[in-house]
């Protein structure tokens, strides 16, 4: 069990602190402090306007954080493209000097940085590059194999990045487990892997092997579990990441899908020229792409209503229900029962 200090300097906001929020909400590892000098003095719950992190302090420096006895520094934001900001070097150096493990989900591997590895060696610290592909799947060619008969694989299809696909999968999986299903969460991104402890960093796999790596993960999980919830990535209509999304969808060989969307998001984030299609078109998009290999109907919609009041959220959910004819809810706000019911009906 790790005790984390989360580094989120200058970026500890609900939208850019996706990794921090995921770990705070779902990881078994404990978080003891967060570093962001701009929000220092608040607690995590106040800084993120979230229902998690009450009493966990936000502090200015790694040395202040060390007073709370962390065992590891987790890099808690995911900058687009995954590059390491220069200003973080001294913080990481200091963390290693203090003997902390560093846990990073960046595309840039800290283990490839000679200064950091030298410091790690000098102070007996370790660095876990969560996004580094492991040999057992890094260059595996997809076989197109079927999953164990009786297992059900559920793919979280997204309208965009950062709409709540991972969160919806985790909440649904918890709910399914509480109902007695032998279920599992298939982590396909760095935050998911930090939470689950294992998975495949899909967006870091060489494109020729994306389908194969995901297939490898799902073959393993569906052999052990009856229901597997697969974290989606990106979107089929994302100008930068559609390759990742389709490889993941096809490699997962899902039986069912849940569409994940953020209420009121009209355009692909950071791509103002690219509108997000209406929900009904998104459903057709994902069902069509799945069917190129194997049909996988969408049986429910997870609507992230974080930016709305509770009343607005209920109205948005009603509207999406009318629009799609499917069960719709915000699993974080209102629980995942409606969606898990839909899976129970369809999986039979």
């Amino acid at each position: 069990m790790r005790k984390y200090v989360i580094l989120a300097e200058g970026n500890f906001t609900p939208h850019s602190a996706k990794t921090a929020l995921g770990v705070l909400r779902f990881a078994k590892d404990e978080t003891v402090a967060v570093i962001d000098s701009q929000k220092a003095g608040q607690d995590v719950s106040a800084a993120l306007h979230a229902d998690v992190g009450k009493g966990i302090p936000v502090v200015s420096t790694i040395d202040e954080a060390f007073a709370y006895k962390p065992t590891a520094l987790l890099i808690g934001i995911a900058p687009i493209g995954g590059k390491l900001p220069d200003s973080w070097q001294p913080i990481l150096q200091r963390a290693l000097e203090l003997g902390l493990e560093i846990v990073s989900g960046l595309h840039f591997f800290l283990n490839d940085d000679p200064e950091l590895t030298a410091a790690a060696q000098k102070y007996g610290a370790t660095i876990w590059d969560v996004r580094k592909p492991q040999p057992q799947y890094a260059m595996r060619i997809g076989q197109g194999k079927s999953h164990r008969q009786g297992s059900t694989t559920i793919f979280m299809a997204g309208s965009d990045c950062n709409v709540g696909k991972m969160t919806a999968a985790l909440v649904m999986e918890q709910t399914a487990r509480q109902r007695g299903h032998n279920s599992a969460f298939a982590a396909t991104g760095q935050t998911g892997i930090m939470i689950a402890g294992e998975g495949v960093p899909t967006d870091r796999i060489i494109s020729d092997f994306v389908n194969g790596a995901v297939e490898w993960l799902l073959m393993d999980l569906t052999n052990k579990h009856d229901w597997v919830f697969v974290e989606g990535q990106g979107s089929l209509c994302h100008p930068a990441y559609s390759a990742v999304t389709l490889g993941l969808l096809h490699g997962a060989h899902p039986d069912l899908q849940i569409l994940c969307h953020e209420a009121n998001r009209g355009f692909i984030n950071e791509y103002p020229g690219y509108p997000i299609p209406p929900l009904k078109e998104l459903i057709i998009m994902y069902e069509t792409a799945a069917r190129w290999l194997k049909p996988a109907p969408i049986v429910g919609v997870s609507l992230n209503t974080f930016s709305l009041s509770e009343e607005e959220a209920r109205i948005a959910i009603e509207k999406a229900t009318a629009e799609t004819g499917l069960p719709v809810t915000d699993p974080v706000r209102f629980g995942a029962d409606a969606l898990v019911n839909a899976i129970e009906s369809a999986a039979k």
Copy 2:
């Protein structure tokens, strides 16, 4: 200008010698010999039943090939997954000892093999890993940018791997150039890069950056040329490679598409559980996937009739024409005029 000996030991057949055939047919570099002990004594044209390679000898060993004064050894087959067969080590060692450059399109980088790099250094030879991503695009995030107004990008959409997408693009580009168009070929795979001298090894790019790397290539080519023919890869319905295909399609931002298929191929090669859909469904598939970002109608079909007699080929082309309502031809056998006419009409 290189003088190639092509290594194709045990695999110098029309279907597995895709790289050799492409280089023989389209590269400016000359080929002086081919190594395949099973076909030694024939010439290349006879060994491949092809219209190229008349008088180029097939020999048994690298030492025999050396008599024809090559300057480079080209690894001339593309094994699935791109691994280096052990039995090739002594041949490559000997080639380096003879001072030959080695040109490899494998996933496995020869420059990462300590024995080969030691030999290269010892004998003053070099190794070109064609598939190694270059820094200018290796980690580039797609921007979703538009091409230069007035340029036309044509994407070669495929029903499967190895159906003739690259060949169709090269023949069409030649024809377009002969008609006076300022055209170019965008190489997106190892053989295409060997032929063109530059390009993006799409299937070797980290999946997060596939769209961006291809976009980078096309921004450059469409700034310089009016018509750009983009080599496709894999297929949207391929269980292993669909990630590569969609990233390439979306990163290329095409205006038009040509569907490429091999006559009588009913199933994805090496995936007997995966039938290839009818041509009309393939057309809908690619037009649908393109439209998620930007519409790109399919305006013609390139039908590879290599395995058919000439009469059978004409019948297959007539049938495909009736089925799709589009211009159809085998550009290698009958010339690319019908397809280039279609581009001329649509590009206006």
